[in-house]
Point group: C2
Chain length 156, copies 2
C-alpha cells in the first residue's frame, strides 16, 4: 500500500533516503569544508551527539565517508569523504547555486571557486550529447522507457 511503483529503482528515491534526512546535507557541507572530527561537526552544526553519531554511521555505511582512527591522536576519528562522497560535490554546488539565486537575498553565502583560475564555479548548464545547451523547457523525465507527461512546464 505504500509503494505504487515497485518497477523501477528510482535514483531520486535512493538519494532522498540519504540527503532527505535531517542534518545529512549539512554534515556533507562540513565534510566538503574539510572538517573531519566528530567534535567539530557537533560544534559547527549544533547537532545532538546521538543524531550525529547515527548520521555519520549511515554515511559511512552508504560509502560516502570513510571512518578512520586519527593516527596522531587515537582518541579521535577522521571522517573523510570517499571518492563516492566527493562525487556528490557537483550536486551540492548546483543546489547552492539555486539557493543563492532563489533563497538567499544577500550573496554572502557559501561559494565555490576554481583554485586554478580563481574564478567562481559558473552556473551549471544542462547539455545534450553534442554538448549543446539544453533549455529547461526541453527537458523531459523518462521513467523506464516511457516519457512522462509533457505538461510539466506548462504554466506558472
Amino acid at each position: 500500500m505504500s509503494e505504487s511503483k515497485p518497477k523501477f529503482q528510482c535514483p531520486i528515491e535512493s538519494i532522498s533516503s540519504l540527503i532527505g534526512e535531517s542534518w545529512t546535507l549539512l554534515i556533507l557541507r562540513e565534510a566538503f569544508a574539510g572538517r573531519t572530527q566528530f567534535k567539530i561537526f557537533e560544534h559547527e552544526l549544533g547537532i545532538a551527539r546521538n543524531i550525529l553519531s547515527d548520521r555519520l554511521k549511515k554515511l559511512v555505511e552508504a560509502g560516502l565517508l570513510s571512518r578512520q582512527t586519527n593516527p596522531e591522536d587515537r582518541r579521535a576519528v577522521d571522517y573523510r569523504l570517499t571518492s563516492k562522497g566527493k562525487a556528490l560535490l557537483p550536486s551540492l554546488i548546483v543546489l547552492a547555486q539555486w539557493a543563492n539565486q532563489h533563497l538567499c537575498s544577500s550573496n554572502a553565502g557559501v561559494r565555490f571557486i576554481d583554485i586554478e583560475s580563481g574564478d567562481e564555479i559558473a552556473p551549471v548548464r544542462l547539455t545534450s550529447g553534442s554538448g549543446a545547451t539544453v533549455a529547461l523547457k526541453n527537458v523531459r523525465m523518462r521513467i523506464g522507457d516511457q516519457l512522462v507527461e509533457p505538461s510539466v512546464l506548462r504554466r506558472a
Copy 2:
C-alpha cells in the same frame, strides 16, 4: 547554542530546510513528472495525507509550487511548479545522475532527456568563468571572503 555560524546565511542550510525534510524531494519529483493533484501525489508516493498537506503548504509558501483550484473540477486543486521551482530541475538531474552512477546498480531508473535532440542530458560539468572544465580537486569552498581548508580532498 545551536548556531555557531550566524554570520552567513548559508545556501546549503536554506535548501536543506526544504529538501532535507522527508518526502519533499519525492514530491518535487512527482511535480516534475507532471503530477499536480493531491490525490495523485498521495497515491504515487504512499504518503500520509496530513504530511502531504503540510509539505505542499510549505512548498507553496516557499514559492516552489503554485496552488490553484482546478477550473474544470472545482473540488480539485492544481499544484504546479513555479519558475522558481522549475529552476530546481538541474539540481534534481545532477542528484539523479549521481545516484544512477553510485547507488542504483541497474540503469533502469529515472532519466532526463532533451526532446529536441532526443539525447539523454549529459553528465553535468563544472566550469569556470571562461567555460573551461574544472576538476573536482580544484574546487574550494569559500565562506564569506575566506577559503576553507584545502585539505578537503586529500585522502580517500
